[in-house]
């Protein structure tokens, strides 16, 4: 249903992990909003984010189901390296940093 996310760095294992651990309605909505999600994933790739895309989908789907423009505005409030570091080690704390 959302196989297209593999084009943006999601591995086969990560894909299975996403399917097993993400809310049903989120998966379905990603399928229905493919164009918007592709833009967002492309943007993450442009920031050098690929292997943590699965983590974002599972833990913070609100950072996937959002327009690219609004995501850019949001991430402009934080140092990108800090953002990437938190994605890697401690994605749960991003919300406290305003993301």
């Amino acid at each position: 249903m959302i196989e297209f996310i593999k084009e943006y760095g999601v591995s086969i294992n990560d894909y299975e992990n996403i399917i097993q651990n993400t809310r049903v309605d989120v998966i379905e909505n990603i399928a229905l909003s493919e164009n918007s999600v592709r833009e967002v994933l492309k943007y993450y790739n442009s920031l050098g984010i690929t292997k943590n895309i699965a983590k974002i989908i599972i833990e913070r789907p609100d950072l996937i189901i959002i327009s690219k423009k609004n995501l850019e505005n949001l991430l402009s409030k934080i140092d990108i390296n800090l953002f990437k570091s938190k994605l890697e080690n401690d994605i749960e704390s991003l919300v406290v940093l305003g993301i």
Partner: protein
């Protein structure tokens, strides 16, 4: 006795005291009159399916033999039938509306006269079943008024102790339900022996949308075959209008997002599309096209109303969530842009969370404004953290009244963080919210949060 066991005992007591009558006794012309009443209360236009026999029976048994009144009811029924079955453009006059309301009241009164207590009895049966389902099928338990009444009925003297016991169980139960249901069966396409032949209306739609049948997955073909072609053509005609005010939304969906267009055609309706547009348009203003585009392209699930095997309907949740925001005068257009996912969250979970935190001293509007991202992703975290703060003897009333920063509510592993704060600054830090918030940010930036 465990809270769950106690609650089930209270339910059994109520069930024992229920009226017993035969369902067949309630039938006239093959229709259960109590069920008819429920259908009319739910939507008076269901009067379209009330037979002449039932109308005559209710009027006669109510002691009303009034030919003009009966004639008006029959005419109103026929008009409603025409509207439902043949899509006739009809609006019932005030006279007909009044007559229908009067009939509904007479039916209610008649049922209560023939079977005293039935209305209450059936309501109670429904509530008992809903509560049993919530306990056994892992759904939220939210009818606290009913629970209080059955606990009081069970043992008035031990009411306080029993309620405490039961509420402890309910809070744990609800928290478990709210933990996001992660186990998810992957979607797969279905096998077809041969591709179905689609109706001409559907073929015309596919042609205009610009999709070839061979490019469609089998499950969509199957759904298009099963759908009422006239109904989806009607929705298509609405969607392809030029003006958004009139339901024209096709041109606002990304051009090559065929799946979204077909799913809305299949599982939405004119009424839903127009209602969503109305919900996001303040009166006397033009439709905010940007907001509408955001909804269509980021959370199209909110347009889905009909139950189906492939996509969870989210229209009711959207409707209830946006009404919630309006109730608290929250800037919903901004929230649609910042966090469209919020509008898809199960409304009963959001309401339960807000109610729980309100009972802890929180202001619901502030919770939404400050914690909408957590509400969109995992509302149970807010409740868990409120409980952790309580466990550490932090006065929640104080927390919510004298503190504008709710970061402690939003963070994972709060108990480890509080332990670290106590280790670094002593127990005195608890209650000094300003210091606690600063420490939290420091720990997060240094990467100390998971130590």
């Amino acid at each position: 006795m465990e809270g769950k066991e106690l609650l089930l005992k209270c339910l059994n007591e109520i069930k024992k005291s229920q009226l017993s009558y035969k369902s067949e006794d309630l039938k006239v012309d093959g229709k259960n009159l109590y069920e008819l009443l429920i259908e009319l209360v739910d939507d008076i236009s269901n009067f379209a399916y009330v037979s002449d026999k039932i109308i005559k029976y209710v009027l006669n048994e109510s002691g009303i033999s009034n030919a003009p009144y009966e004639r008006d009811l029959l005419e109103a029924r026929d008009l409603l039938l025409g509207k439902k079955e043949y899509n006739l453009k009809i609006t019932l006059s005030d006279n007909y509306q009044t007559k229908l309301t009067k009939f509904q009241e007479q039916l209610c009164s008649l049922l209560d006269t023939l079977y005293p207590g039935i209305i209450d009895s059936e309501n109670t049966k429904f509530k008992v079943k809903t509560l049993e389902d919530a306990i056994n099928l892992n759904r939220l338990i939210i009818d606290f008024e009913f629970i209080e009444s059955i606990v009081s009925n069970y043992d008035l003297i031990e009411f306080d102790n029993n309620m405490l016991n039961i509420m402890t169980y309910i809070n744990k139960h609800n928290l478990n339900v709210m933990k996001i249901k992660r186990k998810n069966a992957p979607q797969f396409d279905i096998e077809l022996i041969k591709k179905p032949k689609l109706d001409d209306y559907v073929l015309e739609i596919l042609d205009k949308v610009g999709v070839l049948i061979d490019d469609l997955p089998n499950y969509l073909l199957s759904e298009l075959k099963k759908a009422n072609p006239k109904k989806i053509y009607k929705t298509f005609s609405l969607m392809k209008k030029n003006m958004a005010e009139k339901g024209g939304i096709m041109h606002l969906i990304s051009k090559n997002n065929i799946l979204c267009k077909l799913v809305i055609l299949l599982y939405s309706s004119d009424e839903v599309i127009l209602d969503i547009i109305k919900q996001i348009t303040p009166s006397d203003e033009v439709v905010n096209i940007n907001i509408l585009k955001t909804l269509l392209n980021e959370v199209p699930s909110i347009f889905i109303e009909k139950n189906n095997d492939y996509f969870k309907p989210k229209y009711e949740d959207f409707k209830n969530n946006i009404e919630l925001l309006k109730k608290y005068e929250i800037n919903y257009p901004a929230l649609i842009e910042l966090c469209p996912l919020f509008f898809m969250m199960d409304n009963s979970i959001i309401e339960y969370t807000l109610d729980y935190l309100n009972k802890c001293g929180a202001n619901e509007k502030k919770i939404i404004n400050k914690c909408y991202k957590v509400l969109a992703n995992d509302p149970s975290l807010l409740i868990s953290n409120a409980n952790i703060l309580k466990k550490y003897s932090i006065n929640l009333l104080d927390y919510f009244s004298n503190n504008e920063n709710y970061s402690l509510l939003k963070v994972e592993n709060l108990d480890s963080i509080l332990d670290k704060m106590i280790k670094d600054k002593g127990e005195v830090v608890l209650g000094n919210f300003d210091l606690m918030n600063k420490l939290l940010i420091m720990y997060i930036k240094k990467g100390d949060v998971n130590d």
